[in-house]
Symmetry: C2
Subunit: 341 residues, 2 copies
Amino acid sequence: MSNGQTGIPATIRDVAKEVGCSIATVSSVLNGRGRISDATKEKVREACKKLGYFPNAAGRNLRNRTTENIGILFYPSCARIFSNIFYSEMMAGLEEELTKANYNLLLAGYDISTNSSDLPKFIREGSVDGVIMLGGCPDEFKQQLADVPLPFLLLDTNLEGMPVDSIITDGFQAELMAVDYLVKQGHRRIVMFRHRHENYNEEERGKGFLAGAKRHGLENEADVIRVATNDEAVEKIKELMKDETPVTAITAVNDDMAVDIMHRLQLDGINVPDDISIIGFDDIKLARDAIPPLTTIAIDKKRIGKEGAETILSRIKDPGQPTRKIMIPTSLVVRESVKSL
Amino acid sequence: MSNGQTGIPATIRDVAKEVGCSIATVSSVLNGRGRISDATKEKVREACKKLGYFPNAAGRNLRNRTTENIGILFYPSCARIFSNIFYSEMMAGLEEELTKANYNLLLAGYDISTNSSDLPKFIREGSVDGVIMLGGCPDEFKQQLADVPLPFLLLDTNLEGMPVDSIITDGFQAELMAVDYLVKQGHRRIVMFRHRHENYNEEERGKGFLAGAKRHGLENEADVIRVATNDEAVEKIKELMKDETPVTAITAVNDDMAVDIMHRLQLDGINVPDDISIIGFDDIKLARDAIPPLTTIAIDKKRIGKEGAETILSRIKDPGQPTRKIMIPTSLVVRESVKSL
DNA sequence: ATTGACAGATAAAACGTTTCACCCTATGTT
DNA sequence: AACATAGGGTGAAACGTTTTATCTGTCAAT
């Protein structure tokens, strides 16, 4: 390749011929095995450079029964995940660590790749050494999971009670912390808004909020958690602000929701934080750039990716090890969307 | 796999043994080659199902000298691309078509995967049948390009004058169209804002704007295109609005910039579109959701992906064919950020 | 002189496919 | 009866690696 050889790439045999040794010798040098003289080593390396030789993946895969590929399975689809900025840093963490460990990333959307209830192609055909699932784990897949003959990891979600490795964030603690903070700022009536969407993170965050509310004796204010669309949330907030004991602060299940609600309220002449305080979750760019900047729960998304990479690599090395559930801590980022009463 | 076999996957030999035929027969059935009786075909298919057999990719790759993988090379990095919502639909288009054609997607960031000026691993080791580059093509890579012994495609950017397949959008026509529209709405002083960033799309859009300005005799208003950060742009706009012939409309090189500028202006009490009109470019979600909704140039991003998939597959089939430069048309989406004077 | 140890290198098998060339049998044609 | 043809199927080679077992010298110790 590197110096205008013919289009067809050099093989280990070409290198051996160039050096005048056996292919076993070349392989030994390249893999640092066996006893080869320094002189020969040097000659082999030079020949490789000259011929632009790199070991062919298919050959190595076949012989080693290993692919040096990790499959990333997006649920529900690549597009849905890509467009969610939240995942970009997680992917960055994954990419960084996996590349460092000399693995390729293979991508597939769960829905598009698994028509006819087959597993995705790269699992079926043994093209990967392990699979990381992002974006949630659909029920249909839970059954199939037993059939996946590969190291498997759930990123940013969890299958409670099931022996599956997961990297998760501590949404429970985080919301607890958020409520504590709001109470400390003098808020007495606080409501959380979340989406209809059922998923591990939403559930955990909800539980955390509830626990926080209880801890501070706020739970008798019924309906402390509201399931709503953003539109509905805005309407509800306006209502609740007119109650005898008006709502003074809300928590949203993520920054997307928080910022959107905030903007809509502002357009209706409601000031944040003067009229109402808001806390988000995730600490995505949107939260930093919002006006006013959003107080929110920060997650180290890149770290989720890195821990994920480490976990799957470790399981590939030692498939028998006990299941890991790694909990990534969160932190409260105080900006300007919460007012002290 | 599918019915609790041992962890080690069945091979073609296992299937042959189960059926009582040769592996050649099994292969023939699975690939629809050779003359095999219907009875035998049926038996083979059943055995495959029973044993959960799928042809192993490494074996097939080795024999066929084909990988059924397409490499996606992101510049500068996966993360930078992921977080840009603009690319999500392009990826969706790619994924849809490539998956349909039975290809896997392999991912790498250019910067992270090509340390030490090597090509990315998946190119070096022959793990892909073709490469699609997204996000631009850095100068360093232009040299290396000659060494890539593979079908190669640039998505959403172009190397002018070089024989490289590209799918591009017609930024020139689009900005021309934008200027036409603004003039028709009565605007006489229009300025375009773009970033310092050098890239094909920015250049094309700039040229288009300039051509539009000239066509309407607006070019004598010097400095019709401004290179600026968003902050600088906002300041400049405020100045230009105070000129003897004040600016009444601006065009931004993309929606991100347009919406950000719009929001900043609004915070300074400047009304869009009453005080100034704005047109963006790309038609991302942000543009639809902005308040007021942004008038912008729409690109069919998914189509870019689909055409890209088609193009690379076609080149894989017939590497000798002439270079393609496919231009995707754009359209003006009229919303509410432009006022008719 | 014999043995042992060791450095340096290699032949050959194996990984799981696909396909080419061939074989065998049955059927039809002259 | 001799021959062609077609249907059904198979053996073996090849794809590019890695690794195990083995081989050949050389040198030091006995």
